[in-house]
């Protein structure tokens, strides 16, 4: 585990206000989901999950076919698909188009994909103003931070912090009433919507048979982003594909319920191309940027390919005992929680943060709530194995390897094993008298891993007699 990962974890755990904010918010989201997937209100919830998994498996398994079908259908309605291999290509495309159309102001609706490629920073670097319009994302942008949670980006901010932020960045009088804070943001952003040249959105789904993108939201900012400016650019990972509009019956029901406990979110937009013929409003130009940025690498790994089924509902974050303690910003990349723990090493390499796949208790809550049934714990185990294989190749952690070899050798020799057991029992720290070792023993020497382990856990005291001894006595 890297020092920075460890430091961020300790910072988060030492902040009681933040701990409470994370715990309360994720707890509420869990409760809302639980009520929405209850058999009384959603009797076929498990069938929906099974179907979603089957559809995703099929689509991802034939992704080349669906990408081309999608591309043809977008073109048929007057839009254009742009394939990009990485962040640079996306930025180049947007900058090029902005320059050609003399655009200077861009409004954006929430998109994890654009977070992934730091699009705003890249655009600002070229004097293009890109304004986030989802309330939470807007606050995060004002604070120059990263989203704390996939669906609740400003989950960690208190209303007092929001008040300071608005005063500092917008020069408005300090306001601590949440309704009024929201209206301040509404007024500022409404001006931006009406003045913007380009709207950039993400896409919750790409619908192959329609050449359409689907956006799911509650605020209306995605509708404004895609309706008011003359140009709409949707930026999505290639894995967001589903084959048919009719598959939305399954995916929309699962997404809303899993994310926020809503049977349907307030707005669901199904957008297929620019304004047509006699339609009164809507964009004149429609582009869909399909991004690779490492996804084909994940696709090539048959065992972990299912990581690409994710529909970004955030349920695994809310239900993860690790996320609920260490929060979103401890994670080394934009995707946090269990899904972040499996996506980050696959996108950025296991060495980016080798401790990540190990920062899990493998309790399985994430897999249980995942609407598309991604087996996250299994993938975490695979990634742990990848980390160890990499260490092996690089000759790192020699001591650990030596220790395990010695241990394996001892285990193959029963006599030796028994003697080692007796030695360990006599050397083991004495407990608190109640059968537990609750803190590191005062041996005079510090064994860092043991101290770290015991700082969070208790160890049963060593028994006075070994199993073998008891067996011999009772036989």
């Amino acid at each position: 585990m890297s020092a920075i990962f460890e430091e961020k974890i300790h910072q988060t755990m030492a902040d009681p206000k933040l701990q409470l904010a994370i715990f309360a918010a994720t707890g509420r989201l869990m409760e809302k989901r639980r009520k929405a997937v209850n058999a009384e209100v959603c009797p076929d919830y498990q069938q929906l999950r099974t179907q979603a998994n089957a559809v995703k498996r099929h689509t991802i398994g034939h992704l080349d076919y669906y990408l081309e079908l999608f591309e043809r259908n977008v073109a048929a309605h007057g839009g254009k698909v742009v394939f990009c291999k990485d962040a640079h290509e996306v930025a180049d495309f947007v900058l090029g188009l902005a320059k050609e159309r003399r655009a200077s102001l861009i409004v954006k609706s929430k998109s994890m994909t654009t977070e992934e490629i730091d699009l705003n920073e890249r655009l600002e670097h070229h004097q293009l103003e890109a304004v986030e319009t989802d309330l939470g994302e807007y606050l995060i942008q004002l604070a120059h931070e990263r989203p704390y949670h996939i669906v609740a980006p400003a989950l960690h901010k208190t209303k007092e912090q929001v008040a300071d932020l608005l005063t500092e960045r917008l020069g408005v009088p300090r306001e601590t009433v949440i309704e009024k804070q929201t209206m301040i943001a509404r007024a500022v952003l409404r001006e931006k919507f009406l003045a913007a040249d380009i709207g950039i959105s993400g896409a919750n789904f790409l619908v192959a048979d329609s050449g359409a993108i689907v956006l799911v939201e509650n605020e209306g900012n995605a509708r404004l982003t895609t309706s008011a400016p003359k140009i709409h650019i949707a930026i999505a990972g290639i894995e967001k594909m589903i084959p048919r509009a009719q598959d939305l019956g399954v995916f929309l029901k699962l997404l809303g319920r899993s994310a926020t406990g809503q049977p349907l979110t307030v707005y669901t937009s199904f957008l297929s191309g620019p304004r047509r013929g006699e339609e009164i409003d809507g964009p004149d130009e429609f582009y869909v940027v399909l991004l690779d940025n490492g996804r084909t690498k994940v696709l090539a790994d048959r065992d972990k390919r299912e990581s690409l089924y994710c529909i970004r509902c955030g349920a695994c974050l809310n239900h993860c005992p690790v996320y609920r303690k260490i929060g979103g910003h401890s994670f080394p990349w934009v995707y946090s929680g269990p899904i972040g723990a499996i996506l980050t090493p696959q996108f950025l390499g296991v060495n980016h943060e080798p401790g990540l796949p190990f920062a899990s208790s493998l309790c399985g809550a994430c897999a249980e709530v995942c609407p598309v049934k991604i087996d996250i714990p299994k993938i975490l185990l695979d990634l742990r194995s990848d980390v160890k294989k990499t260490e092996l190749r690089e000759g790192a952690n020699r001591l650990e390897r030596l220790a395990f070899r010695a241990w394996a050798w001892v285990m193959r020799h029963p006599r030796l094993y028994e003697m080692a057991g007796m030695a360990a029992a006599s050397l083991a720290p004495s407990g608190d008298g109640g059968g537990w070792v609750r803190s590191a023993p005062a041996w005079g020497i510090k064994i860092a891993p043991l101290d770290a382990w015991l700082s969070q856990r208790d160890l049963p005291s060593a028994p006075t007699k070994s199993f073998r001894q008891l067996w011999r006595e009772r036989r």
Binding site: A21, A25, R28, D44, V55, H58, T59, L63, D64, Y65, L67, F83, K85, E89, L135, G136, L139, A152, A154, K157, V162, I178, A185, R186, R190, F193, L194, V207, S210, N218, E219, G220, R223, L224, T226, I238, R244, A245, L248, G249, L252, P263, L264, V266, Y267, T268, S269, F270, S272, G273, R275, R276, E278, E279, I280, D281, G282, D292, T296, K297
Partner: protein
């Protein structure tokens, strides 16, 4: 840009070749329950009210017009070109602008109006949802920019739910560039998970069934 590069990497990753056919996709999973019109309206209203939307069952076209008149209460309003609004006489109400076909004009009026009045192509009972297809009759911004949205829905357009919509409209893209499902007033809970309505879209929604 990288079209060939990305498609090539996808095919290599999957062990597929260009133009290789696909196996059948899993059959479509949609379930459409049986429900009479009256039952649909009851459920529809119950859901909308649970989301803090207002509802009205109009006994006649005149009744619908009277309700809309009470809601707009002399404020500035913009109405879409949906025939039902004209039939009800809503477009003739004082302060109501209608018959707009120019995009820039529509945008200006929508941005300054207190109320936006539209029809709805369909409504979904079990979620309390309005389905709006962009067309010469319905612009996108009328149901979005004004702080109050009033929708007049003909009762025969009320479907049981999303699955029925997708059954009768399997290819929405063939009809419109934009299909929007509206389920209650615009809302956010991004600050301390406190619910606030009307963040970007209308904070108040009225649904009249005729």
């Amino acid at each position: 840009m990288s079209r060939e590069n990305v498609l090539h990497k996808v095919r290599t990753a999957l062990g597929r070749s260009a133009g290789q056919p696909v196996q059948d996709s899993p059959p479509v999973y949609l379930t459409v329950p049986e429900a009479g019109v009256e039952a649909r309206i009851d459920v529809f209203f119950e859901r909308i009210e649970a989301l803090a939307g207002k509802t009205h069952r109009a006994q006649s076209l005149e009744d619908a017009r009277a309700y809309v008149e009470r809601v707009i209460a002399g404020r500035k309003a913009i109405a879409s070109n949906a025939p039902v609004l004209r039939q009800c006489g809503i477009t003739a109400l004082a302060g109501v602008e209608s018959g707009i076909t120019d995009g820039a004009q529509l945008r200006g009026l929508s941005a300054s109006a207190a109320c936006g009045i539209t029809g709805a192509d369909y409504a979904l009972a079990d979620t309390g949802t309005l389905v709006m297809l962009a067309s010469p009759q319905e612009a996108r911004l009328i149901s979005l920019l004004p702080p109050v949205h009033i929708a007049v829905v003909e009762h025969e357009r009320l479907l049981t739910g999303l699955d029925e919509l997708l059954s009768i409209l399997p290819h929405p893209a063939e009809q419109t560039s934009s299909m929007v499902l509206i389920t209650g007033p615009s809302r956010t809970a991004d600050i301390e998970q406190i619910l606030v309505r009307g963040v970007h879209g209308p904070g108040e929604i009225h649904v009249v069934v005729v």
